[in-house]
């Protein structure tokens, strides 16, 4: 029987991550709790993707600790969508059926169609997933993630290479999932997107957590010089 212990909170305490001699993250402390979306922002190389992978449990920290409310990794209701999701070499519908089976859920045609419909891809169920456009692939990746019935959904710059229409489609799905009670933890370069979606902002620069605040307060009055520069659109290197 599936353990229904909550996946949240996920508490990261003084974590660091290094790849060889390169320190990517250092001394980051952060608690991810149920509630509105948490959006990670910061310049390239600030450690956003690494932080998401650490919180998801895909990689272990080189220092510090991560405490998951649900200790059994296989029982955690969490999913992730990568910036460039890998589409399996099969149809869109079969990609979704695969994800449903992997999550131990029924992969019958009705369930697949319902999920595809949720992301606006029901008409493309039989199309090879790798033949879909970038925006459609990203929506299919979202459907695969939602197939896990996640309590927390990590999104690593899901709209980085999409046009405005495709970005809007993805944002609508993310907002819908958040409204349905899924905790969103998302990284983005797009300050406008962060304003539209975020409940709270985590600002990273040079591998450090510089500021963590409610989105409204962060954008109205950033507390640190780095955050002020970033919000003002200046280059933070």
């Amino acid at each position: 029987m599936r353990d229904r212990t909550s996946t949240l909170p996920i508490v990261l305490s003084s974590i660091a991550f290094a790849a060889g001699e390169i320190c990517i993250l250092r001394d980051v402390t952060l608690s991810l709790d149920a509630g509105p979306p948490t959006v990670l922002i910061g310049p390239n190389g600030s450690g956003k993707t690494t932080l998401i992978k650490l919180a998801m449990g895909l990689i272990p920290p080189t220092a510090g600790s991560i405490r998951h409310a649900q200790a059994d990794r296989s029982a955690r209701r969490q999913a992730i969508v990568f910036q460039k999701p890998v589409m399996l070499r099969r149809s869109a519908g079969s990609n979704l059926a695969y994800a449903l089976k992997a999550a131990g859920r029924s992969a019958d045609a009705a369930t697949v169609t319902k999920l595809l419909d949720r992301v606006g891809l029901a008409a493309l169920a039989d199309r090879p997933a790798r033949r879909l456009s970038g925006g459609e692939q990203q929506r299919l990746a979202l459907a695969r993630a939602l197939a896990r019935d996640p309590e927390v959904l990590f999104l690593d710059e899901p709209t980085a290479s999409l046009d405005p229409a495709a970005t809007k489609a993805v944002e609508d799905i993310v907002a819908g999932a958040a409204a349905a009670g899924v905790k969103i933890v998302m990284s983005t370069h797009d300050l406008g997107q962060a304003r539209r979606l975020a409940g709270d902002i985590v600002f990273l620069a040079k591998g450090r957590l510089i500021e963590h605040a409610l989105a409204e307060r962060f954008f109205a009055a950033p507390a640190t010089p780095e955050a002020r520069s970033f919000v003002a659109g200046e280059l933070v290197i």
């Binding site: 895909l58 992730i80 990568f82 399996l88 070499r89 099969r90 149809s91 992997a102 090879p128």
Partner: protein
Amino acid sequence: MSALDLVFSGDPKLFGIVGLSLFVTLSATVVACVVGFPLGAMVALTRFPGRNALIVFLNGCMGLPPVVVGLLVYLLLSRSGPLGPLGLLFTPRAMIIAQAALITPIVAALTRQLIEDLWAEYRDELTAMAIGPAGRVATLLWDARFSLVTIALAGFGRAAAEVGAVMIVGGNIDGFTRVMTTTIALETSKGDLPLAIGLGLVLIAVILLVNAMAWAVRGWSERHAG
């Protein structure tokens, strides 16, 4: 009778040899794929002591001389060998075993490299979906299926072209274990060039045809499966 006359007249002897050759080589290719695909994938996806040595061994075995493989299989199947009581020596089954032994390392080594490269692409996605080791092997093999066809063809080509192993374990018995390559070698040494040339033409045509069919299937599948 010229070589072309032999081919186009449907000479029963010639086509008997061709049929046996195809049976032996296709059977050996199937065995090599059944063993080599999962073996290569497992080596690609698992870490264990001696893994690097196993990879070097598999890669090294890609260049095994057919006569050495034939000799080893002969020793296994000979009357005094460990598998002697099975009575397989000088039968088509012995030839299948020898060719499978020759090409399984090729299939496994190429599969290992292919799956390892694919795993680098899929790792995060499959790990995030909590796919277990067996599921990973199955998923990666399925998604690599078009490239695996090419690997199977490499094995088929190697098996179809070899002489030494089947000569040693098959004995080149007329009407029973005589295949295209051994017949070409024998007839050339006897001076019967029309039959040797005719078989050579058929051998080349068969290899080209199998490759063309595989290419067509691959193209069709890629269009329909992405």
